[in-house]
């Protein structure tokens, strides 16, 4: 198969087409939603892995939508960072689509679920590959609106309330993002990111840029659930159906929040000293607040949701350091967190599927009845707690070492402290849900069906061997390429203008 820039738009087209087909035919043909959903996920996953090879072979590629040349037309860009994000998003999305085949049997309108799911996927892929500011906003809204609907999918009281809060706060964030984009447009007269970067270099950054920075920090920070913009997350993530929780916590906050933040600040606006110290502070604050709150939860999924806030804090901390090692650690942690947090949410879903409860106090001894769920949960927990040799250990190690290398010893200490909190909270989950003696009410619990098992096992495998991404060969092809793009900083625009 010939690979070229022609595959770039496929990342948006395939899920959009899938969503369209499912909404058209899904009601009549019973198996279609499942098959199309999984198939789209599989194709996207394969395509994203192929795009790694493509990028390694030919460098950054651009695709002009509708054959309008940049900077007037909309451009889609495939560079190291977007390839990295594509792999992360689509890999996790595929596993989740597979899981949903069994899990969503509980709900009535499966076709609606898959439609929204694929729309959300299209939005995320769009955010990642677009090279245009306004286009980024459009895709971001597609993904966000789909996720509002998905949070409310169960249509119970709690879910509706959570979705309402999420929608209101999400919209506030989006409007500030839009305001920021408008102001940037008025200042630079362009919407193309690379072009905007070059214009900003020439014109110099004024206080307007600082103003816009705050808007973006708030807007994308809200999408990424940074403290103090995080309050929607602990309601929204547990309320959604488990596969969606996994999607939201695993990849949505990263594609919409962290990725957009990193891309815009590093490659378009440029990171000043002041800004990076703000990132460091916000990252640490999220890390600590999320970690402490998570420890006190008894609702399995709510605990995981708070822990997401805490882990995103790590990523932002690494990004804020701005050193090659810090960015590498942040990106690696982003990838790892996508995998293990999705897996943990899928585990919580499996437990809920089997026992109909999310309250840790009502569980106990489940490892006897659900061996695969408990094993995969154990692997994911160890990974997120940073226990060697699992994947999370390596990324945390990188971040802590990077903080020390940058002489930010205080931040390194907080990172270590939160790592202890993380360990404590997951051991709590394991102790209450999986160990101990089996509760009388749970004697008839059965292990979950095949597809759910399959998907959990795949993700657990990645947790187990995730560290190999640091081996020289793979590292050069994947993580290094992604961090190089962020490190380009102000020179980002130049590579595209020439080409």
């Amino acid at each position: 198969m010939m690979l070229s820039e022609q595959i770039i738009p496929l990342f948006v087209v395939i899920p959009l087409a899938g969503a369209f087909l499912i909404s058209l035919l899904g009601k009549k043909v019973k198996l279609l939603p499942d098959m199309l959903g999984v198939l789209a996920g599989l194709i996207l996953c394969i395509l994203s892995i192929l795009s790694v090879r493509l990028y390694n072979a030919s460098g950054a590629l651009t695709y002009s939508v509708g054959a309008w040349r940049s900077p007037i037309g909309i451009e889609m860009v495939l560079d190291g960072l977007s390839v990295f994000m594509l792999v992360t998003v689509n890999l996790v999305a595929f596993c989740i689509a597979l899981y949903a085949v069994n899990y969503m049997e509980k709900f009535t309108a499966k076709w609606k679920f898959y439609t929204l799911f694929l729309l959300m996927l299209a939005g995320m892929n769009g955010v990642v590959i677009t090279g245009d500011m306004f286009n980024l906003f459009v895709f971001l809204e597609i993904a966000a609106v789909a996720s509002y609907a998905l949070v409310a999918f169960g249509t119970e009281r709690q879910e509706l309330e959570a979705a309402f809060k999420y929608a209101v706060m999400g919209t506030v964030g989006s409007s500030f993002i839009l305001l920021g984009i408008v102001m940037l447009y008025s200042y630079t007269s362009t919407l193309n990111m690379a072009d905007m970067n070059s214009v900003l270099l020439q014109k110099g950054a004024g206080s307007l840029i600082l103003f816009v920075s705050v808007l973006f920090l708030m807007g994308f920070g809200l999408k990424a659930a940074l403290v103090p913009f995080h309050a929607w997350l602990p309601d929204a993530h547990p309320s959604a159906p488990a596969p969606i929780s996994a999607m939201l916590s695993g990849v949505l906050i990263k594609a919409l929040g962290v990725y957009a933040l990193a891309r815009i600040f590093y490659n378009v606006l440029g990171v000043s000293e002041q800004l990076s110290s703000i990132l460091l502070f916000l990252g640490t604050l999220s890390m600590v607040v999320g970690g402490i709150l998570a420890l006190g939860q008894w609702d399995f999924k709510r605990l995981l949701a708070y822990s997401s806030i805490s882990q995103v804090g790590y990523i932002i901390l690494g990004l804020g350091l701005g050193t090659p090692l810090g960015i590498l650690g942040a990106l690696f942690h982003l990838f790892n967190h996508s995998v293990f947090k999705s897996l943990l949410f899928l585990n919580s879903g499996a437990v809920e599927y089997a026992t109909d409860t999310r309250d840790l106090r009502k569980m106990g001894g489940l490892s006897q009845k659900m061996p695969l769920t408990s094993t995969t949960n154990f692997l994911a927990s160890m990974s997120i707690a940073g226990i060697p040799p699992f994947s999370g250990f390596w990324s945390k190690l990188l971040i802590i070492v990077a903080a020390c290398r940058a002489e930010k010893f205080g931040y390194a200490f907080w990172a270590v402290l939160v790592s202890i909190l993380t360990l404590a909270m997951y051991l709590k989950v394991i102790k209450f849900a999986f160990l101990g003696s089996l509760k009388d009410s749970l004697t008839r619990v059965k292990e979950v069906p095949l597809f759910m098992k399959l998907s959990m096992a795949m993700l657990a495998l990645i947790c187990l061997v995730g560290g190999v991404l640091l081996l020289p060969n793979l590292y050069g092809a994947f993580l290094q390429k992604a961090s190089q793009i962020l490190l380009l900083g102000a020179e980002y625009g130049a590579i595209f203008i020439k080409g």
């Binding site: 705050v214 708030m218 309050a231 070492v401 002489e407 200490f413 404590a424 160990l435």
Partner: protein
Amino acid sequence: MFSEQFFRFDNLANFVGIFVVIFSLLIILYSLGFMRKSKGLIGYYLYIILTLLASLGAVFSNNLILFMVFWGILGLLLYLLIGFGQKERTPATAKKTFIIIGAADALMILGLALLWQLSGTLQMDKISIALNEKLAVWAYLCLAVGAFAKAGAMPVHTWIPDTAEDAPAPVSAYLPASLDKLLGIYFLTRLSLEMFVMNRAMNTFLMALGSFTIVAAVMMALIQHDLKRLLGYHAVSQVGYMVLGIGTANPVGIAGGLFHMLNNAIYKSCLFMSGGAVEKKTGSSDLDQLGGLAKVMPVSFGAFLLASLAISGVPPFNGFVSKWMVYQGVIETAKSGGNLWIIWLVAALFGSALTLASFMKLVHAVFLGQPSQQSTENRVQRTEAAPSMLIPQVVLAGLCVVFGVFAYRLPLAKFILPSIGQGVAFAGIWNPNLAAALILVGIIIGILIYLLGTITASRETEIFVGGELVREHPQMRLSGTGFYDTIQQLGLLKAAYALAKRKVFDLYDVCSKITFGFVRILRYLHNGVLPTYLSWCLLGMGILFYILLR
């Protein structure tokens, strides 16, 4: 792969490595008997073997990151192994243990990062940092916490008594009693002798910590009512001698500390094995329910007695020699001035005496004295343990004697002295062979007198107290658990014991209380009201505006 950059095979590493393998083999043998008919045995043996491999990896690695990986895996395996315990509290203990160990490991990562920043290399034999700046001190402390937690020095020791009580006996004998001691002290030695150039303040800190650990842990041991928990406190107390020895920073003291590490691993796993055999047979490790087992389990009793004498520092057993060397090391520090050495010495001697006292209680309560009501009823099961459980005990008890009597010729000459790589000058006159011979002669004479005495005039009768048969009056039985209850009533000690009972000295408990205090505060702030949440966002944005645009 096995290049010098990653692995190193020097005398110290070889010495520790050899004993890691020996202990693993003995434990596997013991487990064949003890763990029979348990569930998930494939997992159990897999974890035991992985522990062996990871320990070897940690001992031989020369790269700090590699070391960290193996070290971390060991914590994970410990958690998994404790999970094989059958007690109600086992999951909670496993969790507590892993949190303490994991926290120490996390701090070690910080120490590693600081070390990297300071020295620019992670190759352990190339690092040599003077403790003259703040950062270096922090790096040392962060790394040392890892060693302390593994070995069980205070204040990160609290997992050991819990684990000893709730884990299966072979696991207690394997990890907290032997391997974790070997590894923890091994790493502390590497840190203190090679990677950092110690100064006097740090050495004094180590000695103070060691002395405090010795006395405080043994005081706790005195009042325990559970066989395995009591042994667990001794496992903590003994670490104090090793830390004290290394803290002396002179060859005798360090050699003594290392030798004590080895000796402790030997007799402590022997004690846990004998204790495990008792528990297996009687179904209980509560001292109130044991007693009079010497008759039915003579081999276990013999091994337990020898190991008890060794741990109490009675000559000519191995524990005496190493303690003797530690004392010499402490006295040696007097040459460099200061009068603090007297305190350390007194603490060490005092601790040794209390150890003897608590083992008298233990030996009496478990093997001597009269059987308790419960154990008399279960007389059917009371036979000696399976051979696979006895052999390791006998081997270890034998080692206690051999390493004591031939201390200079065998362990010291072959393992300890080459490890520290400098000459050791022994002060004082101590000839173990002569002492052993004298003691042996004394015992023989004693036996002779006893035999002569019994032959002439004695008759066998039921055990009685004050003319009444004990069996009919259980309240007349003296179990031994209450031996030292009086010290709990002594002024200051009374307050200290009361606080200890409320877990005020348990770092884990204290930290969790503090954390949950913060949880309450933060939870109060998260009231679920949308306008509040929105106002945080706006407030946050306002602050950001102020910072960036002022």
